[in-house]
Point group: D2
Chain length 331, copies 4
């Protein structure tokens, strides 16, 4: 039984707390949150204690920490947890600055602790099914990956302003999925983008619509289409063209009800947003982290995956800014 | 090259005329229609002559006739054509009276001419594909057939009054499809029906909604659901459950456009009505008739299929009228 | 907080125990199971105690019981729980004998305790969505209900022998769904059935394939198609034809992955069986029971619904046995 | 009644001949083909004459010509037909050299004759339906267009060698569709491409897999994904993201049959290739040309559309060759 400390009991922290409860091999030992009420309430719900970061890290019975706090605190908490010898699960990103990420990952490496990055989409049952079929070799080798990724609506200006921009905040998930499915790191990137859908995004100096193309040395390629706003809801689809055919993951509808009338045949919109669509992914992600604790094998996205996704996002922004193709290196 | 005389140049006659033109092995020699203008205009369009029934039947160069006139004239025209030694294609039904059908088919048999009944659905590319897979044996043996058959809206009272009622007019097509897919004649039938959708149908003393169950001696069974009105359009679906799985034919949408919006994901309604949905079926049906002229093999629904479908329709009506299960015999 | 005693900690009992844990308003106070190990293990997992039926019913702090034991014990446990003044959730059926059901429900009525029957399908999010749209009136009035209900494969002979037969064991769920969606009790029934798919079912004297038609006084009608074996998996679909159009609930696929290759476009089979397909239904069902405890309003299937479904199943069997249409009365 | 001369009676010429026969307002007056047998046979089939280009152009009763010969002859035949005062329908492209195209279109302009380019996809009922909904304004303004365009397999080396390469031969259709749906000419282009699927394409120095991104001044953008080989068949899909939602045109399956078995739910592959998929498009295209003859209004793709598509294709090739973004100008 692994004892876990939760850092951050907000929206996403609550989900991880619930998934800890559903996992037979771990238990929630501590809850840490800046907001005392939230920390206390969450601790009560799961029959555990609200403490400080220091307290949790000093307890040698704590095997692992879940970092679900705001982005600005991630790198620091990772470093402190690593120095305390804890296994770490951290929501993406490590940091929005690649220099800070490099420094942080060096410490993780020195301390030799596991670090799982919360790229939840790899654990979505649909995407995972696609990847399993690819890995089986039944469909031959990958040639092209196309990723459609759209949010129902843009986040508020306050979020946009501190998000790092479309590529570092939203497309970064798609960069990770692209690398995962291509099975190869891209060597060049081109991004075109504009502000078409959301006035406040434009005012914040950010873009809300983008097409990003990635090319690999082998000739494999990927394209990501993004929008901050899709009137039909949260659009999360993947298409992989392989030598043996095409593998497609479609959206999950809110229900399987369809209505036929004089207006046509209407089926349900995709599940509302990431909490609904990726509910199963969050559970499987936590399970993978715990399985890693048991086996000592990091069979999940690690710090280096977070670093590479950020390098690609930085290059995407530069491509957009300069209107030119950018080379990608990950050294 | 087979010379063909068209009897009846109304809506359905026009379709057959067009399909004769598209078939490389036959040509339209004569057009016959009560309405001189229609006859003349059709003859001109296809570079042929408008004549009388007598004239056409007396021409020994005419190999075959297409009977597309009103139901009341079918049996008489079949008999005259048979006695003139012509191969016959006739729109369903031979007649609404089983005695008249029996008498007519006796003459056809005596004269030894081919008689194809216009059960067009067997030639729909979708249904034909399903049947071909069944016949291949790949899916094992048939266990259950379910047929969904709904018209967009009920025909006018004048039509209802002379139609013979729902079972003899509309369900008769489904009875033929059921026999064709079961590969076995049913031994009993139960029909429940009511007037729910169309006031004028009720006033005409007919029903507009029905469920009909057919049971075979082997244990195979079929169910047909009917409505004279479907707000979403012409509903023509078939599901066959076989030992190896389920084969489904769905409706053909008006186009493959789908629209995703905050109202949901909307795809197109089924093609409007039988002229659109069964356009290809009419062409393949005529081709099958001409292939029969060439080969001498009647690989299509014949008079006996028309007779059996009518016997089932009569029993369906009796089942509905009495509220009891009816035995079926075809002697 | 409502204290709940679980009677029966087998496969279905475990699901209810988990759903009690996920519900904020109730807690598992006791676990009862003939198998001491199972009872003990389940009690430990949820931090509660394994006791006897007597003990649980004698504890005045227990508000409600969940009866998840074998069918033979249901009526007796209902009566004892009712006499102890407990609210009751019971898996279907009350009993396979209508006389026993009547006697049992009389006692429940005398004692004035709530009794919810576990017709889980009403709580499936897909079916519930369909029902909510119907209830909104947007689609007009119901005309026809068609239910497709097939199991992946027949249960073993031991189960078949004590099941009460296809209609009482399997179709009974569909009878409840039909009544629920028709919004009216049927007045007549016709069932045709055969043994086509599973030799051991035939040997046990039961049928494995059936079509059942229900007719209401208003003219509304329903048809249920059943099979004990579907090679493509657990088939649970509903189609409702209303004056405003058709509402369809389709199966839920194992994932949204589809594969396009030279073999065609292949999507996933339906979720394997009832535990997977109805996982959400079981959770919502338990939530509805608890909501009833809070509100005092029985907004769920009650004992009378179980009784009516059994009366219909008995009539279905008689219809099949005699080959004739049966009248339905529920007095 | 418009008299039409057909130049080239090969595969595509035969289709146009058939569509002339189905159009009530025009008639086939002459057939021209290098192969005497083909010319003669086609002329007989449609009751007309096989003649030379000179003969057809010198007949003042000929209103229009259909140019369906090999690419190398297009520009010359357009010029001769224009000088003879004929309305012209020409299969794409005018020529593979932009200088030759410019010269040819200058003559067409001087002569003032109509010139329709055979960009058939605009007349596909599915794409046309999408465009009509866009034009209605119901879905708001376009933001992004994504086009999936894959052939079942690469053409033979002989064809590849004279095709002008992937972008000028295959993607050129997609460039026209992109311009048509964007409603705006792009200002920059980026193409990444590789040889992954077909060895003989690689040996011919051509690419077989590509992603092309187009950006407009307004911020609208489009992406085209191409492959010369798709194991699942001819892939022709379009997705338009507009402010009001997403419009999608999917492939048309060979039939609506789907098969459910223990292998999953399998539906049919897309129609085999362009002759099947675009059969209706070819008919509507010819109808649009004839409607133009009647009205004098060129409501179809004209020479300038052909020229712009070629300019984009040239830029795509340069982008691929240099690995850099290219600006687009159409002066």
């Amino acid at each position: 039984m692994f004892n876990i400390a939760l850092f951050g009991a907000g929206r996403i922290g609550q989900i991880h707390a619930q998934n800890v409860a559903l996992n037979a091999d771990c238990t929630l030992k501590y809850v840490v949150d800046m907001n005392d009420d939230v920390a206390q309430k969450t601790a009560e719900k799961y029959g555990t204690k609200a403490v400080s970061v220091e307290y949790a890290l000093n307890d040698s019975d704590v095997h692992a920490v879940l970092i679900c706090t705001i982005t600005e605190t991630h790198a620091d908490l990772i470093e402190r947890s690593a120095k305390a010898g804890k296994a770490i699960f951290c929501e993406k990103p490590v940091d929005l600055s690649i220099e800070r990420v490099n420094a942080c990952l060096t410490i993780v490496k020195e301390e030799g602790v596991p670090l799982m990055m919360g790229f939840n989409r790899r654990f979505d049952p649909n995407f995972a099914h696609l990847k399993a079929v690819l890995d089986s070799g039944d469909m031959g080798s990958v040639e092209m990956v196309t990723i459609s990724s759209r949010d129902p609506e843009a986040p508020p200006s306050s979020y946009i302003n501190s998000s790092g921009g479309l590529f570092r905040d939203m497309t970064i998930h798609d960069f990770d999925v692209a690398r995962w499915l291509l099975g190869e790191d891209p060597v060049s990137i081109y991004a075109t983008a504009s502000s078409m859908t959301s006035d406040h995004v434009k005012e914040a100096g950010d873009v809300d619509t983008a097409i990003v193309t990635l090319t690999c040395k082998s000739g494999k390629m990927a394209v990501i289409t993004n929008s901050r706003r899709a009137s039909y809801g949260y659009d999360q689809r993947v298409e992989v063209h392989a030598s043996g055919g095409m593998l497609t993951v479609n959206n999950m509808p809110e229900s399987t009800l369809s209505i036929a009338s004089d207006k046509g045949m209407t089926s349900q919109k995709p599940m509302a947003f990431f909490l609904e669509r990726y509910a199963a992914a969050y559970q499987h992600e936590l399970d993978a982290f715990v399985t890693g604790l048991k086996s000592g094998i990091e069979n999940y996205p690690v710090g280096e995956d977070g670093r590479k996704a950020l390098l690609i996002a930085d290059a995407a922004f530069k491509s957009f800014e300069t209107g030119s193709v950018q080379s990608l290196t990950f050294d």
